[in-house]
Symmetry: C2
Subunit: 236 residues, 2 copies
Amino acid sequence: MHLFYTPDIAPTHPQYFLSEEESKHAIRVLRLEAGDKVELIDGRGGFYNAEIKDAHPKRTILDITSVTTEFNKRNHYLHIAVAPTKNIERTEWFLEKATEIGIDEISLIITQRSERKEVKVDRLNKIITAAIKQSLKAYHPLLNEPIKLNQLLTQPFDGQKFIAHCEPGEKLSLSGQLQPHGKYLILIGPEGDFTPAEIELALESGFKPITLGESRLRTETAALEACFEANFLNRI
Amino acid sequence: MHLFYTPDIAPTHPQYFLSEEESKHAIRVLRLEAGDKVELIDGRGGFYNAEIKDAHPKRTILDITSVTTEFNKRNHYLHIAVAPTKNIERTEWFLEKATEIGIDEISLIITQRSERKEVKVDRLNKIITAAIKQSLKAYHPLLNEPIKLNQLLTQPFDGQKFIAHCEPGEKLSLSGQLQPHGKYLILIGPEGDFTPAEIELALESGFKPITLGESRLRTETAALEACFEANFLNRI
């Protein structure tokens, strides 16, 4: 069944009008007809069953037949702050995979050793939207505008804060630290890692140093590993 | 420091001659000189420190200064059998990421619903080799030639066998099943999943059904999730 992402719908709406673009896609490309069933997600936890009432190629009308709110609501809140990679494709696939596995918020941080300081957030958001449709998620992860690490460190966060870095020093595994069903903010550095000064500042700001295992991981792999671990530890 | 993959070296060798191609790369591109230090991995657990004795652009001579065998030896054996994806790039990044995180053997299985029945194993092996160099792994994962699922199911395997599928039925999580420091073979299906008949045959062949969580994952994401879980459960 075809799934549409419709962020402007609300659970109280009895009908929904597909945009001109979506209408054209539904009727001209997918060849949907009156009576055909479709599904909608609003990105805020709403999952809708709908039926095409008027197969208009510019303004398709849908009858909403049932609504589920808090569809597959996640049992924890995961915010990963990662330095965008020099090759943006690596950041793109991290976003796709993290969305499939489960993530709530992503910040792209600009650090001293970041080779990339600019990103097209719109393009990255499209990748996230495609991934929630593919993996049937009713919640759309929040992708923030790029932010300097120093700024992020000073923002309040009412949960557990971690930093994964490769400098020497005592580090604990998330498995020993993570409080289940909690709220987490995890920092992942750029190619070349955070600078010692950045790590020091993060520790002073209440971030706990963690290890993601013995392997030497690329930035995007480390970010995905952190995403895996947070989700997995909330399953077992 | 520069790292070379040299599968034809042995821990007993006092010297090593770089191939013409590697010599040219080392001397002409990297501009290495006599006395410069380099590292070698043999793909079988051997990690070598070496020093350039003769910076010959066609036949560079290295003195081996120290050897470590069983370098970062893994504490379990993980064999993942996955159907190659229609878009081969998705299989390629699975191989890169699985190599970074930790894997020992990969089989590419041809199933009833496989859209792709042919793969260039040489090209995929180059991706694995690049990944072990990048992530500093002395063991080169074994990539087998593509094999029909039915053939794989009949091969003997002296470890735990699992199948991850999306059909209804009771499934357990790896966390409750996996014996630490063991040997595992995990089957991951194609886009569209295994057929019920294939699943039945796998169960009859001693494979236990597992779930990789509630999310609907793409083939390559499911394979990486399995790789992550097996490694993580052998760390905690």
